[in-house]
């Protein structure tokens, strides 16, 4: 599942993970650690929209 940041357009893809936040591939968006924010613009999780 992919989720897009509505502030900057970054998209989180669980298949790819998120290196900037030390998140390995395979983690679902819902399971991202507490305190996770957009790696590009630091928006919080509730600013994301599901793409799939």
């Amino acid at each position: 599942m992919r989720y897009i940041c509505t502030c900057c357009g970054y998209s989180y893809d669980s298949d790819k993970g998120d290196e900037m936040n030390h998140v390995l591939p395979g983690i679902d968006f819902e399971d991202l650690p507490e305190g996770w924010v957009c790696p590009l613009c630091y928006a919080e999780r509730d600013q994301f929209d599901c793409l799939d």
Partner: protein
């Protein structure tokens, strides 16, 4: 003895063996468009048709109302009574509170009618006159539990008013108990209004109490009021269940559209339970559950429903749908029934309240909220000429200002739009307002609440200072603070202690609305912050070792250049559509399915984008201009020393205190390594777009205001993206045009850091930057807080090092 009424042809028991007796409600200019139009056209046969249709659909008594602004009620009533009494089998209910009209029509009627209605609103004069007529002509009466304090809301009050009316009607005027039908009043459980959650319970309870204390009297109810504000398909079910419950406790007649009553047994158990939970206030989420549950319910007879909507309901719907068509006519009708101020306070404001609640629950997107606000605003403008005076007294008033040094207008203006269209008096005193002026205006206007707005961190710090000045000046209003750079913690810890009265952080305009409602309820408290809430990540590149082997790029020139010849249309290819549509514009997917969102995107968002794109290009609203340059530099610790013709400029950058301890200066080579090359730019979209947004705001085009502003913002970013690409190509670190999808995630070599953003938060760097690039040549100046004017401008330092990416210090 049982009560009955009769027409020329038949007598009808008020207490049917299988209750309720159904009273048709559509011979009413406010209840049916067909009837209204026929009445206004004096097409009496068409009026009769409405009556006969209802009979055919099961109505056993026909309510007849002809009161309509500009018409002679008594004459119309006489006309239609003569016609109806020869043609309708169902007895008539004369719906009028005018003794003069009733006096004329009662003697003409060849049966036993019911008068609708009496009440104690005026203390009893009208009631006396109408009861005398009822006695004289042997009519029944409907009695509403209204007295000089207004409509009775609780079961105790309903009982008390009923008792009073009973005493007058029965003991004084000698009517028989079974001549009276009490209407104990129904109010909607669909508005979300906390104080009305028990509305159904109160009414049902009152029926039991009155029945017990005044044996023999009958009851009636305007059933559909219970579901006012909900979707038609859901209303039908809720109305039917409410009718069923009311009959259980003793209701014997009901004013309804007979065709819209669903037999109890045909209603699915799950639907029934939803209705029961809502009617009996069985859990706090009952309304939300109900709305969710019936969200998918099909509207079979949608057209007919709009046709039969009361004008009050129609207005409500128009506000909800942001539909401005036909407001003039609708409001003219409503003015015949309500005072303009009551239309505002009792119809428009509750509708906007619902809009706010829908937004809060994620059921309505911001652009639609703004369309609703436009409908509200237009209605108020249409009503204003008919108001004796703008009733300022008692209205809570708010002063709004953007703080000194800050030209950011739109955040404050959105707050103004939301507050003023929810019935508050807003004094929006503009941008760049110094504390002294805020104090003076707050005193002069004697406002109840003060709201401050600002875009920058500097503005947030200024708000804190302002509070100290407000305190010293003796201001006693609560202060609402809003804007991008504020946080709950900053307001709670750094601001609130400087001021005696509540200081409240408002994340958006609706938080402001909520705060003002709390203020009115005497419950507003300062923002509170709990230590120990989860701390946010600080994402960034995780490199341990910084590669120092990169050579400086070849730059095409040293020094600065100005570019005024930029094709505005080419910027659209660099526009970040996701950020524009979902972020700036607020077209988020929310609770929509993927398909629904795609439809919204195709049918609403893209056409809007096309429209604004063409308009801004054709009208020449976009004036992209750039100053940029390349310079020799050396990094030195946390600073970068930049060489230019006008001397050395020093830029200082903070360093992360935790690992990996990044600092922008590290990406450039130091003196020992031979120095480096660095780029800078300042870009602007010009002043014209800002002027155009202002025009839209001032003409109450709220929706387009936010949309055009959002487009401008993202085009400013697009210009920066475009220029950054051009500089990479000029420096030879990129070969040709790249792909916007990749750019969004910094898919290019190096980085551009905007001053003020988290890797280099100090906006003070604009000072040396402006000396280097002299953007005044393209019309950009700085405020005392280093904000750029025009606002659609952005600046950056451009670094070529491949490991340079965004991070936060």
């Amino acid at each position: 003895m049982k009560g009955s009424v009769s027409s020329l042809y038949q007598s009808v028991e008020l207490h049917q063996e299988i209750p309720p007796l159904l009273i048709g409600e559509r011979c009413n200019p406010n209840g049916s468009k067909a009837f209204r139009e026929s009445l206004l056209a004096e097409d009496w046969d068409a009026c009769l048709k409405v009556a006969l249709d209802q009979e055919a659909r099961g109505a056993q008594v026909l309510d007849l109302c002809v009161a309509y602004a500009g018409r002679d009620e008594a004459a119309d009533m006489v006309q239609l009574t003569q016609l109806f009494s020869g043609s309708c089998r169902a007895p008539l209910m004369f719906d009028s509170t005018s003794p003069e009209t009733l006096e004329k029509v009662l003697p003409l009627y060849p049966g036993r009618a019911i008068i609708n209605s009496i009440n104690l609103e005026d203390g009893g004069d009208n009631l006396d006159r109408i009861c005398r007529l009822a006695k004289k002509y042997g009519a029944g009466v409907v009695a509403l539990t209204i007295n000089s304090e207004g409509m009775a809301l609780t079961s105790e009050k309903k009982l008390a008013v009923a008792r009073e009316i009973y005493d007058l009607a029965v003991n004084k005027h000698q009517l028989r108990p079974h001549d009276i039908l009490f209407d104990l009043l129904t109010f909607t459980v669909g508005s979300g209004d906390e104080t009305m959650r028990d509305a159904a319970i109160e009414t049902l309870e009152a029926i039991k109490l009155v029945k017990q204390e005044m044996p023999g009297v009958g009851f009636t109810l305007g059933i559909s009021n219970i579901s006012f504000g909900l979707r038609p398909a859901a209303r039908k079910v809720l109305n039917s269940i409410f009718l069923h419950e009311a009959v259980e406790v003793g209701l014997n007649t009901a004013i309804v559209d007979a065709a819209k009553v669903l037999p109890y047994a045909t209603i699915a158990e799950e639907d029934r339970n939803m209705c029961i939970d809502l009617l009996f206030n069985r859990n706090p989420d009952a309304l939300m559950n109900f709305i969710d549950h019936f969200e998918q319910a099909k509207e079979e007879d949608g057209d007919e429903d709009t046709e039969t909507l009361l004008p009050e309901e129609l207005l409500h719907q128009k506000v909800l749908n942001g539909d401005k068509d036909g407001l003039e006519d609708l409001l003219t009708t409503l003015r015949g029934r309500w005072r303009p101020l009551d239309i505002i306070n009792n119809l428009l404001v509750p509708a906007m309240r619902e809009v706010g609640e829908l937004f809060g629950r994620g059921d309505l997107l911001l652009p639609f909220v703004l369309q609703s606000a436009e409908t509200m605003k237009k209605s108020v403008v249409l009503l204003e000429p008919y108001m004796e005076k703008l009733a300022d007294e008692g209205q809570t008033s708010v002063l709004l200002a953007t703080v000194a040094g800050d030209v950011h207008d739109i955040g404050k203006n959105l707050v103004d739009i939301i507050l003023s269209n929810n019935g508050y008096k807003v004094h929006n005193i503009g941008i760049k307002v110094a504390a002294e002026e805020i104090i003076a205006r707050a005193k002069e206007l004697d406002v109840d609440v003060i709201g401050l707005s600002g875009l920058l961190v500097k503005s947030a710090l200024l708000m804190k200072d302002n509070l100290g000045q407000f305190q010293a000046a003796g201001l006693s209003q609560p202060i609402l603070l809003g804007g991008a750079a504020l946080t709950t913690k900053f307001v709670a810890v750094d601001c609130a202690p400087h001021f005696d009265k509540p200081v409240v952080y408002c994340a958006d305009a609706f938080a402001g609305l909520k705060a003002i409602r709390e203020f009115e309820a005497g419950k507003l408290l300062s923002t509170h912050w709990e230590e120990g809430t989860v701390s946010r990540n600080r994402p960034g590149p995780q490199q341990e070792i910084l590669d120092r082997s990169f050579n400086p790029p070849d730059v095409p020139f040293l020094g600065r250049k100005v570019e005024k010849n930029i094709d505005a249309e080419s910027l659209f290819a660099y526009l970040n559509q996701a950020a524009l549509f979902r972020g700036r514009w607020g077209y988020r997917r929310g609770k929509m399915s993927k398909e629904e969102y795609e439809e919204l995107h195709a049918k609403t968002v893209l056409p809007l984008y096309q429209r604004l794109k063409e308009q801004s290009l054709n009208e020449g609203w976009l004036q992209p201009q750039v100053t940029y340059g390349y310079f020799d530099c050396v990094s030195h610790g946390d600073t970068v020393k930049v060489h230019s013709d006008s001397g050395e400029k020093v830029f200082s950058f903070p360093r992360q205190s935790n690992t990996p301890g990044l600092c922008i200066a590290d990406y450039l080579r130091n003196k020992e390594e031979g120095g480096d090359k660095v780029g800078f730019f300042v870009v602007t979209l010009g002043q014209e777009l800002a002027e155009q947004t202002k025009v839209l705001y001032e003409s109450d085009h709220y929706h387009d205001y936010l949309m055009l502003h959002g487009l401008g913002v993202e085009l400013t970013d697009a210009l920066a993206e475009y220029w950054h690409e051009k500089m990479r190509i000029e420096m030879g670190i990129q070969e040709e045009r790249g792909d916007m999808d990749a750019y969004v995630a910094q898919g290019y070599q190096g980085s551009r850091y905007g001053f003020g953003y988290p890797s280099c938060p100090d906006l003070g760097a604009h000072e040396p930057l402006f000396e280097l690039l002299q953007p005044d040549e393209i019309g950009i100046s700085l405020t005392e807080s280093f904000e750029m004017v025009p606002e659609m401008s952005t600046s950056a330092i451009v670094i070529h090092h491949p490991q340079a990416k965004y991070f936060a210090v």
